[in-house]
Amino acid sequence: MSVGNELERARLLELAIERSVGGLSAAELQDLERALGSASAQIDDSFEQAAAAAHLALRPPLEPLPRDLAIRIADDADRHYAALRAPALAQRRRDIERATAVPRWFAYGGWIAAAASFVAFVGVLLLERAGRASAEPDLTLVAQPAAASEAVDDVAEPATQVERPGPPERVARGGTTERPDAAAASAAPTPAEARAALLASQPFALRRNWSSAGDPSGRGVTGDVVWDARSQTGYMRFVGLRRNDAAREQYQLWIFDGRRDQRYPVDGGVFDADGSDEIVVPIRARLPVGTPLAFAVTLERAGGVVVSERERVVVIARSS
């Protein structure tokens, strides 16, 4: 090897070591890049590995990852992989739409369009009245319109997450929710079991306690709400929620999403309580929820509403 090559090699070695400990200035980094451009050999990362191993050998005690930061990182991961999967998902969506277009649009298209139009109309009225958006959740309960490009059934699991209006959750005694048929009952976990499994498998799932919101129906009610942003699943647990007359009124969940206009919370589904000491109810969010700021349960007329008058807010759980 020539003297020139020896010098170049020695310089590369020096730069590699300095790079591994952050000792390179911007100018030296440019030197390294130039050298790499002219040298036939690629500099290896073995000094970075050595520094990493030494770091692990020397490092001080660990600090736990802050919970809020963990949620943001998980959201970043979701966005990252969603972007990677987007082309495949688009094709999959086209395939599914081809297979199901007639019955789905026939059955639900009109409902979605009507709901969106109605909500948009109400939204305009509220905008005129409010003048400006509030920075905090104001419990103006107007459901978020379901844009076609954003509906839940556009994401990865269309077979199980199709958005459709359905019957409310019927809550049975003993903290479980009745299932529509016996076969499913033997196979699927109860909401209480599913909630426990979610908590066990998702250490970063959001969990907040309910607080009474002033309505007499919420007095003494305790429990919590659990929400996993990654899987877009969650459960409400209530202790002491009074039985509702399902023919006249029903409970409805609203989710205030920090990534949406907070005047338009996401409809989290309608449900009933049977007066059991403790009940667990799955959340049926009609839209993807990015950053839940608050969960509010109201009492509405049977079947639920698109726009809540917020006359009877039962309980609230704020996420921060």
Binding site: G23, A50, H55, L56, E63, L69, I73, Q202
Partner: protein, 181 residues
């Protein structure tokens, strides 16, 4: 020694959500702790940690278990990002670590936590070094101090600091059997 868990990065590379969760649970504290040491503020450390995890998602497919442990790979990704950030920010944090005699700088070689084969090898190699050299390496690698900062704090000449670090790293690299010419 506790058993080394199965690598999670191959599953992360396939975009498996559960693997992402396992990866965060397994390495979240490690990455966050490194970021805290290298960052001037908690907010800066949070930004850095998010960037590191994004780098990890992007780099997961490059992990090769035959070249080293997953923990070292993750640490390398984290350090690389943090060093880039420090270089680009140009303004260094006011390090809270003191001189060579301070307790903070004497955080020992902790054999109880975070065991992996390379860390054990590196630990053995570092234990053979003089105490002064080991402290200099710690200030550089763990605390992220520049050579000039270490020289100012230790009273050692800048050239000596560079030499101690360089020789120490070469020793660790040799011990790891990673000598490449």
């Amino acid at each position: 020694m506790e058993p080394v868990p199965e690598p999670v990065l191959p599953d992360v590379a396939r975009g498996e959500r559960a693997a992402v969760q396992r990866c965060m649970a397994r390495y979240g504290a490690l990455i966050w702790s490194i970021a805290r040491r290298f960052s001037p503020t908690a907010a800066d450390a949070e930004d850095a940690t998010q960037e590191i995890f994004l780098d990890l998602w992007r780099s997961a497919a490059r992990f090769d278990a035959s070249r080293g442990s997953e923990r070292v790979f993750v640490t390398m990704i984290a350090r690389r990002r943090l060093i880039d950030r420090m270089r680009s920010q140009k303004s260094r944090r006011e390090h809270e670590v003191g001189g060579l005699d301070d307790e903070a700088a004497q955080v020992g070689i902790d054999a109880r936590i975070d065991r992996c084969a390379e860390a054990d090898i590196a630990r053995a190699a570092l234990e053979e070094l003089p105490q002064e050299q080991r402290k200099v390496i710690q200030l550089s690698i763990v605390d992220g101090l520049s050579h000039g900062e270490i020289a100012a704090r230790s009273g050692l000449p800048l050239g000596t600091v560079k030499t101690l670090i360089r020789r120490g790293l070469i020793r660790v690299r040799q011990a790891l059997g990673e000598v490449r010419t």
